[in-house]
Structure formats: structure tokens, C-alpha cells
Amino acid sequence: MIPALLNPERFMAFSRWAAPMLGLIALVLALGGLGLDFAAPPDRHQGYSVHIMFIHVPAAIMSEVAYVCMGVAAFLSLVFRQVLATAAARAAAPLGAGLALLALVTGSLWGRPTWGTYWVWDPRLTSELVLFLFYAGVMALELAIDDEARAARAAAILALVGLIDLPIVHFSVTWWNSLHQGSSLTTPGALPGVYLTPLLMMVLAYLAGFGALWLVRIRAEVWRRRAGALALRGAAA
């Protein structure tokens, strides 16, 4: 299926119905997840601040997933000069940056009542900030270089370098003594069902929402390239 979607025509036909469908799934899951979130009792230790978990954890997970998507697309763009992969890498960066920003800000607002501080140079927090800076760097490179092909290559190289940060973000809580708690989703029994179900729904909602917006932005890139190519052809004629 993936190789078939590398054909722009097939991708446009697929994404035409897949993007709204994913958007609808995201909306339904988010409404369900938020409904269960606000129906759940306050946590024994964290009280009502546990509500932040349902928007912080999905944003943090998706900021990593979005980077993996951008990294794979950057690799395909750099090695195989795949046009659609270049568009996909470019389209993923602003979404990933938004998710990383949300993870940092909501984490900070959760940290104040939980740890007594908005920010600490903890390995998890610092590596997430570095992830955000990689997203910002990729976007800045694309804007800073006039030659689009050169800009895409430079951005792809930076995106691939940034992949080094992903395992650091993910495993920082086990590699070092961290103020940040370990993974609640992958540790059996860490979360009671009353929190686990809405949290999983919110993670899936963010995943579907990212998928929908990624497809929309790739479609925009395809149209932008088409418009540019047609304008060039018109100017040459």
C-alpha cells in the first residue's frame, strides 16, 4: 500500500477521503475521551490536576511519532529523491512543532502543582525541548534557503540528525534519575482503568488528528508544486 501511495495521483485519490475520515474519527475519540476524563473522579495523589494528563501525554507521544514520520519521509526524500516524501517531510514539521510545544507547555502547567516548579533541566524535559528546536530548525531551514531543492536536502539532513534525540526523549526516564515519572501507558497497573481508557482514547484521537492534518498539508504541498510547475510552463510558453 505504501509504495502505491508514493504515486502523487494515487495519493491524492486516497487522501481525498482518508483525511476527512481520520478527522471525524479524531473528533469522535476526543469527545469520548474528554467525556470520560471529566466523568472520572479526582486522583488520590494529584487531585484534579490529573485532568492535564489527558492532553499532555497524547501531545508528548505524538510529538515523537510525528518526528518518526518526518524522519522516514526525510530519508526517502534524501536517498530516493521521492517528491511526495519531500512534501510529507515538509508537511510534518509544523504539526510536530505544535505537538512538542503543547507537550512542553501543558507539562510545565502540570509540573507546577506536582513538582512545585514550572521548569527544571530534567533529561526528559530538556530532550523534549531539543526535539522542539529540531522541528523549528527544519522549518527555518526550509524558509531560509531560496533554492527549494537545496532547502529540502538541508532540512532532510537536519531532520535525520534529530532522530538521535528520539531515543533520548523516550528512554530518558529510565536511563537517568528523573523528576519526570515513568511511562504510565506501558507500565502494567500504573493507571487504573478509569484513567487508562480515556487516556488511550485521547492518544488515538491525537494520532487520527495528526494523520488527518498531515494528509491535508501533503495535499496542499502537491497542489503548490503543481501550481508552481504550471506557472513555469506558462511562462516558458
Partner: protein, 52 residues
């Protein structure tokens, strides 16, 4: 199912977190849709027979 929107003493942290999340997600959705609409129009203006 009954909803409890009371955030107690954590309201100053919970509601700003939700408000910022709503703002950023809304901004990403609007920017993505506007960008797609703008370039779709540009591509169609250049080649009116391509409706996808």
C-alpha cells in the same frame, strides 16, 4: 454519566492547559485547511480541468 468540571485549587493550571491546547490545535487545523484551499485554488486556476 455525570460530568465534574470542578478543578478545585488546580483550576489555575488545568484550564490554561486546556485553553492553550485548544488554541494550538485550532491554529493547526485552520492553517492546514486554509493552506490546502489556497494552493488548490492556485493549481485549479493554472489548470481548470484538474478537480482533485
Amino acid at each position: 454519566m455525570s460530568f465534574d468540571f470542578d478543578a478545585g485549587k488546580y483550576a489555575a493550571f488545568v484550564w490554561p492547559a486546556y485553553a492553550i491546547t485548544a488554541l494550538v490545535i485550532a491554529a493547526l487545523v485552520v492553517d492546514s485547511l486554509l493552506r490546502a484551499a489556497r494552493w488548490r485554488r492556485a493549481a485549479q486556476t493554472a489548470k481548470p480541468d484538474d478537480g482533485r
